[in-house]
């Protein structure tokens, strides 16, 4: 456990960051802080993927000087997954932010619990 953890410290850091982001998204009442939590969570996963794709001592997966042996290059698929993931997380962040603006113009607060109380008071 000990040496493995030290050798894979990048993955360990990403798992810790994931937990920080997850807790923020779940427990913060402020909507902007929730969205920051979401972004930390997603970035942690991309860090994990990047760590997994990189192999120390190898080159970027672009063929130069005619060397086609796979042994020379790192794994390009995780980088592709990270790119796709970033696109997805940008779009959900945009959607969340636009929803936040809608709620703020209506209720003049970013506190989700406060909004719920106001809604109950309206009784609709």
């Amino acid at each position: 456990m000990g040496p493995n953890l030290f050798a894979n410290y990048g993955e360990a850091v990403s798992a810790i960051l994931f937990c920080i982001g997850f807790t923020n998204l779940l427990l913060q009442t402020n909507l902007i802080k929730k969205i920051i939590g979401l972004n930390i969570m997603d970035s942690a996963i991309y860090l994990f993927l990047a760590e997994k794709g990189y192999i120390a001592g190898r080159a970027a997966p672009i063929v130069v000087d005619g060397v086609t042996s796979a042994e020379r290059y790192i794994n390009p698929i995780p980088s592709g997954l990270v790119l796709t993931g970033i696109v997805v997380s940008v779009s959900v962040t945009a959607l969340m932010l636009s929803l936040t603006i809608r709620l703020y113009t209506r209720y003049h607060t970013l506190d989700l619990d406060e909004i719920s109380t106001q809604l109950k008071r309206e009784g609709k």
């Binding site: 982001g21 998204l25 979401l38 996963i45 994990f48 997994k52 997954l81 959900v92 929803l99």
Partner: protein, 497 residues
């Protein structure tokens, strides 16, 4: 390869493309495009289902020119085609049943946006059903979430926006967990295609290596999909989202969106992890316990509710609990019962939402039980339909709900150790269901003379009444001729292996 093997790809692309086209069309044309697309996809799925039943084996379709470990793939078997057909039927009926309410619920200029969202939702559901690639599944899970969020918030009142935010938060937590689990799985196996992952997982298990990461990955993926499909205790967003969105949205969300995630989970269990490996992870016990708790607490919340649509929404929590209880049994029979319950619940819950709107319309738009007294006399068709849906939910013979309860009970008897718990909770939950559904049925059939509300006759709601008849027929067909459906589910599960 026959031409018909292109149909899964065509249906995904057609619905995705029609979503884009709808953005430039006027509302009326967008509505026609939407209906035609759902019908076309339904017909293609039906043809595919017949073809697969005749050949008796599933096929894999390459998306592009690269074979297995590199290319993206679509896979179709009996279960996938049947599910796609069923989703199309429910979606068409839900759209038809809620069409007359749409002008009052959504601003005229946004109607075409509504149809874009419905088309996108259909395409993402189809992709979840057909895909053979885990990362594609993740991307379409997110598309599904975004379009479902749009369907909730397109009716612009405070409650729906708040519900949409809560829905997004829970869904994003779920998809974060799913993505992390998927990345660990990729890290362990080096593959993203389901069939390849399964081969590697079998090797890992046989070698006895990496047991903990494997269990962590399975647990993360399962929890993520459970959160997204609103398993108790992750259902806080559900009553507001189903209770205040437009009526078609509520019917589609309750009967299709959560089922799409559950179907993905079934695919992951069978095609990625492997049924026996999944059963040995003890994850099934967790699902079993939360399923049972959902069955009880969902019904208890529904009994306390004084708003008919929120009551139906809480009943969904209980029904999702049934489905996870079936998973938790860890047997083939339990799985078949769960899949049948997915169909039965989808057919019944959308019927209830559509029927409830007819009842509230003749009660001055109020959803409180006091105002609904005698509403079944004012709108006879909706009254009959609501009664049929309630009977099906309670589990009266002739209706589909009876068959799923029967299948659950039969499956429970075969499982040692879980038999007593599941049978007792099944019984309690049925009684609780009866309490709140029969209470409502009695309420709407209580004659009252001093009502200020006008009734409505068949002449003023032809399309609506016809939709209700189709819904009831669907329920009765599932209830009366269940054996072919059950056989088909069994055949589909056999093809998964």
């Amino acid at each position: 390869m026959d031409f018909i093997c292109n149909f899964p790809f065509f249906s995904i692309l057609l619905s995705l493309f029609s979503g884009t086209v709808c953005s430039v069309l006027p509302a009326k044309a967008a509505k026609i495009v939407n209906r035609v697309v759902i019908l076309a996809v339904g017909l293609m799925s039906a043809a595919l289902l017949l073809y697969l039943l005749s050949t008796g084996e599933s096929f894999i379709y390459w998306m592009g020119h690269f074979p297995a470990p590199w290319g993206n793939e679509i896979r179709a078997g009996v279960l996938e085609a049947g599910m796609a057909l069923f989703f199309c039927i429910i979606m068409y009926l839900s759209m038809a049943g809620g069409a007359h309410k749409l002008p009052g619920e959504v601003v005229e200029s946004k109607h075409n946006l509504y149809y874009i969202l419905v088309n996108l939702l259909l395409s993402s559901l189809l992709a979840l059903v057909y895909t053979n690639d885990m990362f594609t599944a993740y991307v379409f899970v997110e598309i599904n979430t975004i379009s479902a969020c749009g369907l909730i918030m397109i009716r612009q009142v405070g409650r729906t926006i708040e519900a949409a935010v809560r829905y997004m938060i829970m869904s994003l937590l779920g998809s974060g967990l799913l993505l992390f689990g998927l990345c660990i799985m990729y890290d362990l196996t080096g593959h993203l295609l389901m069939s390849n992952i399964k081969e590697s997982v079998e090797l890992i298990v046989a070698n006895g290596e990496y047991q903990i990461p494997l269990i962590v990955s399975v647990a993360l993926m399962c929890t993520g999909l459970c959160i997204k499909s609103a398993l108790f205790p992750f259902h806080a967003w559900l009553p507001d989202a189903y209770g205040y969105s437009t009526v078609s949205s509520a019917a589609i969300l309750s009967s299709l969106v959560s089922k799409g995630y559950i179907f993905l989970l079934i695919k992951i269990i069978y095609r990625v992890i492997g049924f026996s490996v999944f059963n040995s992870t003890r994850m099934i016990d967790v699902l079993f316990v939360f399923g049972l708790m959902g069955m009880i607490f969902g019904s208890l919340s529904a009994i306390k509710e004084n708003d008919i649509r929120r009551m139906i929404a809480f009943s969904s929590v209980a029904q999702i609990g049934y489905i996870y209880m079936g998973f938790g049994m860890g047997t083939q029979a339990g799985m078949v019962a769960s899949i049948f319950h997915i169909l039965s619940h989808a057919a019944t819950k959308s019927l209830l939402f559509i029927a409830a709107i007819g009842l509230t319309d003749v009660s001055g738009g109020s959803r409180r039980f006091a105002d609904l007294t005698g509403s079944a006399y004012r709108n006879k068709w909706a009254g009959v339909a609501f009664t049929a849906g309630s009977l099906s939910m309670v589990g009266v013979p002739l209706f589909s709900g009876f068959i799923s309860k029967l299948l659950f009970a039969q499956a429970a008897v075969q499982v040692e150790g879980k038999m007593l718990a599941s049978l007792i909770v099944l019984g309690i939950s049925t009684v609780l269901n009866a309490v709140y559904f029969m209470k409502t049925v009695i309420r709407i059939y209580t004659a009252t003379t001093e009502t200020p509300y006008e009734g409505i006759t068949f002449r003023h709601m032809k399309a609506y009444a016809v939709t209700l008849v189709f819904f009831i027929l669907l329920n009765v067909i599932l209830g009366v001729s269940s054996q072919p459906v059950v056989n088909m589910i069994g055949q589909g599960l056999a093809m998964f292996a």
